[in-house]
Each structure stands twice: as structure tokens, then as C-alpha cells.
């Protein structure tokens, strides 16, 4: 079990770097996760569009959206999502949006 330092408090991450408690997510935490987990120093508007869409979907449905819905909802094209998040939509974007790790071959 890893932890990261966030404003002086320890945030628990599971073995794969996802938030143990998705409920504590906020935008500042997303920035810390971006640096710690994806090696991204800053998040552009495009990053935020994707992350915010995924987060709002998650808060409504308690699951990760299809990448189809992410493209449609955020206005970002598919290839651009892969470019923005080197670890992909699941282990990159969903992780930064504070979601738990999706099940399956990911």
C-alpha cells in the first residue's frame, strides 16, 4: 500500500496507484496524481475536459464511462485521449479522475 503526501496529509493509494477512497478526490489531488502516477507536470485544458467528464460520469453512475462517451462528452478525439494520457483511458485518465481500477483485462 503506497501513500502520497497531499498538503501535509497522507493519501492512501492501492497497489496499482488508484485512490483507496475515491470520495476524497478533488482537482488539486488530480494534479498530484498526474505528477506522481503519470509523470505529467501540468494538466492542459484538454486533460481537464477528459478528467472532469469521467469524474462527473462516475459520480452519477459509480462506474467508468465507455471511451465513446468520453469522446462525446469531452469533445476530445480518441487518438488525442491516448496522446494525453500515456497509460491510456483506464490506468491514466480514470486514475487521475479518482476512480477505482476498472475490472477486466486492464
Amino acid at each position: 500500500m503506497a501513500t502520497i503526501d497531499f498538503k501535509g496529509t497522507c493519501i492512501e493509494l492501492n497497489e496499482e496507484g488508484f485512490l483507496v477512497d475515491p470520495g476524497i478526490w478533488n482537482e488539486e489531488l488530480a494534479l498530484v496524481l498526474a505528477k506522481h502516477e503519470e509523470g505529467l507536470e501540468e494538466l492542459t485544458e484538454e486533460h481537464w475536459a477528459v478528467i472532469k467528464y469521467i469524474r462527473s460520469y462516475f459520480e452519477e453512475k459509480q462506474s467508468a464511462p465507455m471511451v465513446r462517451a468520453v469522446c462525446k462528452g469531452s469533445g476530445i478525439r480518441l487518438q488525442q485521449i491516448y496522446d494525453l494520457f500515456p497509460s491510456g483511458p483506464a490506468k491514466g485518465a480514470c486514475k487521475l479522475a479518482g476512480l477505482p481500477k476498472p475490472d477486466g483485462c486492464v
Partner: protein
């Protein structure tokens, strides 16, 4: 509650009766072949470095013979005369909580069921068959790691392992159809759903639908170019994955494989085509008939065989100069060592890329990427999985390839993680993606 605690809590709650019935389940998985395997290990230790876990992290518990010994010692103590008379002499040990913990660690925590130890075993013990029997026993005691079990439960509940709803799947297929039409500039290009009587029923990995639809688009482009009569199911029966092969609960595995057999009956297709997926192929081609205890009245083939056939028949026009970077091939264990599909993928690649190099070793001797056996879904063992993957990572960097092709989505995901972990600077593609790119 952390995963480690989860196991301890479950262990503590086990009753003696449950432990006894767990042993019965183990025994029920054995036939004369497996019992002879349990009588055969001579502890020569030559298997040690055939295992990617031990190669990356040399320690006793990573040696295949040691993992096997945990199982053999229980067999000896329960089912052999000498094991009962003189347990210390032959290393017979009782099936208690401590041993169950060792089983969980050995067969879930340090094994991807890749079978590389079997072919390197002096005797020839197919160890995964025994590790599976142990996993089945642990499954019956509720000791499957929860995230692996959750993936199985998704399939049982939703008909696919990522809990994708029907409308989400259909919408994605329609979207990819539009993308394909735009790509090939043909409004007749289709991803047909539920076409009754189609020749081929094609199946995919849900991660394609959920997160990585470009590989689905590539497969569809191959079908389009070959002018094939094919379809996919809109209801359960489009997902080729079966994590029942990993939790080794044969009833659950059988229920999941029924999604495919039911779709074949419903849609009256002639051939079941398994998309690029190692465990999906082994499940449908080899294990499915055993789980359901029935012959399948139609052939089950890999999409690789079909693509190779198209190339052979001249149904695809390809230009290898479309793929100029050096490509190497990763052989999925379930497809190659356990599936027997070894040649089609390399023959395809030699035709669609102009620069292809094998890894060392390759084919049935290839190393597991580290993500097999359900490892990818067991978060608890992630750090071991990535370290064990260092063997594959160094194989890849020695190959000097810029693109690693692999006909398995599970391997793709592990290779993506290895790419990041070991800064390999490679692209990972399915075979269909390279074929689709070469189509002219």
C-alpha cells in the same frame, strides 16, 4: 481493509469442514494423469530458471518445483501410504491454514499458469494442471482474490467482464462503424450485429469496446477488405474473455462459455471466431467443451488463422511498406504453448511488415509477459507482476524492435505497463492493427 488482511480474515473464518471440502474439490479435479504427475517430481531443480518469476526474483518460493511441492506435500499426506506413515521422510505436510496460505501465495501470487516450467521439466510434469486444481480448491473456499473474482462476477451478471450495458456496446459498435466508413471511404463498410446465418461469429475483448476500440476497427477493416460474411452478437456472446479459466471455478467458467455457445445457436453461425486473445482462445477452443462436457458442433478458430487464410487466398491486398518500423512478436502463452496457434501470426507479420525480428527465445519457448493467469486483475500482486515482467522487457529491448505485436489484449495491457516501467519506448499493437494498416 487491505487485500492482505482480506485473506487473513477469510482464512480465520474457515471451518474445518470447509477445509475438508476444499481438499475434496482438489481431489475431484484429479484424474490418473494428474495423480501420476503428483508422483513424479524428483526435485532436480532444473525448472527453477524456466520461470520468469524466479529469473527476475531468484528466491525459493518462486521456483516451480517449490510451488508444486506445496501441493504434492498435501497429496502425499492425504493420499499416499508412506506420507501417512513417515511424513517427515517424504515431505508430506497437512492441509491446514498455514498450507492454504502457502497455496494462495504460490498459485495466485507467483504463477501466471504460463506452462513454461512444464516444457522445461526433466520429467514433463504439466504443472499448470495441478496449479489449476489447487486454485479450484481455493475457489471453493472463497479464497480467490476479490478483484479477480469481481471480473468473473461481471461476466456472470452482465455477459461481459467489464459490466458494459447492451446499449453502450451497441453504441460503440455504431460509432466504430462510422469511423471505419470514414477511414475506408465506403458507406457500405459495416460492423454487423445479430446477423442470423452469418458464416462467422466474431468475438472481442471488452477492453476494446470500453477503452481501446481501434483494434476492433482494425479487425472490422480486415473483414471489410476480405468481403466476409460475419457478425457479432449484441447481447451476451460478444465477449470472448473468460476469467473462469483463472479463478478455476469450472461451474462459473462453464456458465460464461455458454454465452458464446448460446450466441452461436441463436445466430446460427457456422464458425466461432475468437479475436486476438490468449486465454479467450484456450477457453473457447480447449477448455469450453470440457467445462460443458459436450462437443461443439462447429469449429472454434482464432482470428489469426482467418487473417492468414485471407492472405493466402489473396483476399487481402497488403503492402508491407506501410509498416516500416522493426516489429517483433510476443507469443501469448495461452495461445501458443497451450493453444497450438504458433505459425499463423508470424506468417501474417512477414507479409504485412517489411522488418520483422523474432525475440529470443520465441514460439513455444517464449517467456510470459507476466500478465497472464489473471495476474493483471489481481492488484495485490502488482509489484511482483511488474518485476517478473522484466524478463520480457529485456527480451524486447534486445530485439531492438520499435513495435511489439501481440495477438492478446491481456498481453497488450501488461506490455503497456512494462513499456512505462522499463522505459522501453515501444508501441504495442495487435496483429490485426498491423494488417489493417497494410491494407491497400
Amino acid at each position: 481493509m487491505s487485500e492482505l488482511d482480506e485473506l487473513e480474515v477469510k482464512l480465520k473464518a474457515l471451518t474445518e469442514a470447509e477445509i475438508e471440502s476444499g481438499l475434496d474439490v482438489f481431489k475431484s479435479k484429479l484424474r490418473e494423469a494428474e495423480v501420476s504427475y503428483l508422483n513424479s517430481c524428483v526435485h532436480c531443480g532444473l525448472c527453477a530458471n524456466s520461470c520468469h518469476y524466479n529469473r527476475a526474483m531468484p528466491e525459493l518460493e518462486n521456483v516451480p518445483a517449490r510451488k508444486l511441492e506445496h501441493i504434492v506435500s498435501v497429496f502425499k499426506s492425504k493420499f499416499t501410504t508412506i506420507g501417512r506413515i513417515a511424513p517427515g521422510l517424504v515431505g508430506a505436510r497437512p492441509f491446514n491454514r498455514e498450507m492454504i496460505r502457502a497455496w494462495v501465495d504460490a498459485v495466485f501470487g507467483r504463477c501466471s499458469l504460463c506452462g513454461r516450467c512444464s516444457i522445461n521439466c526433466t520429467i514433463g510434469i504439466p504443472m499448470p494442471s495441478l496449479f489449476r486444481a489447487a486454485r479450484a480448491s481455493l475457489a471453493s473456499m472463497g479464497l480467490v482474490p476479490s478483484d479477480l473474482q469481481a471480473t468473473v462476477d461481471n461476466s456472470l451478471k452482465y455477459g461481459n467482464n467489464m459490466a458494459i450495458e447492451k446499449e453502450e456496446w451497441v453504441e460503440t459498435v455504431e460509432w466504430i462503424e462510422e469511423e471505419l466508413q470514414a477511414e475506408v471511404e465506403d458507406t457500405e463498410a459495416r460492423l454487423p450485429l445479430d446477423k442470423v446465418g452469418a458464416k462467422y461469429l466474431f468475438t472481442v475483448n471488452p477492453r476494446e469496446a470500453k477503452f481501446f476500440p481501434l483494434s476492433l476497427q482494425a479487425s472490422a477493416k480486415v473483414f471489410w477488405a476480405a468481403k466476409e460474411d460475419w457478425t457479432m452478437a449484441s447481447d451476451a456472446g460478444w465477449d470472448l474473455t473468460n476469467y473462469g479459466i483463472f479463478n478455476c471455478n469450472d461451474d462459473q467458467a462453464g456458465a460464461i462459455i455458454s454465452n458464446l455457445t448460446n450466441a452461436m445457436e441463436r445466430l446460427k453461425c457456422k464458425v466461432l471466431v475468437i479475436g486476438e486473445c490468449g486465454h479467450g482462445y484456450q477457453s473457447a477452443r480447449w477448455m469450453g467443451p470440457e467445462w460443458l462436457k459436450k462437443h461443439f458442433p462447429y469449429p472454434v478458430i482464432s482470428f489469426l488463422e482467418l487473417m492468414y487464410e485471407y492472405l493466402e487466398q489473396g483476399r487481402l491486398n497488403v503492402d508491407p511498406n506501410k509498416n516500416t518500423q522493426l516489429v517483433t512478436l510476443h507469443d501469448p502463452c495461452n495461445l501458443v504453448r497451450h493453444g497450438g496457434i504458433l505459425e499463423p501470426q508470424r506468417r501474417i507479420l512477414r507479409r504485412v511488415v517489411n522488418n520483422f525480428a523474432e525475440m529470443t527465445p520465441y514460439g513455444h519457448e517464449n517467456y510470459c509477459c507476466g500478465g497472464g493467469g489473471g495476474q493483471l486483475s489481481m492488484g495485490k500482486y502488482k509489484s511482483r507482476r511488474l518485476k517478473a515482467g522484466s524478463v520480457k522487457a529485456s527480451q524486447i529491448s534486445s530485439s531492438k524492435a520499435k513495435i511489439v505485436a501481440t495477438p492478446c489484449h491481456n498481453c497488450v495491457d501488461q506490455l503497456m505497463e512494462l513499456n512505462k516501467e522499463y522505459s522501453l519506448k515501444i508501441q504495442i499493437k495487435t496483429v490485426a492493427e498491423l494488417v489493417a494498416n497494410a491494407i491497400v
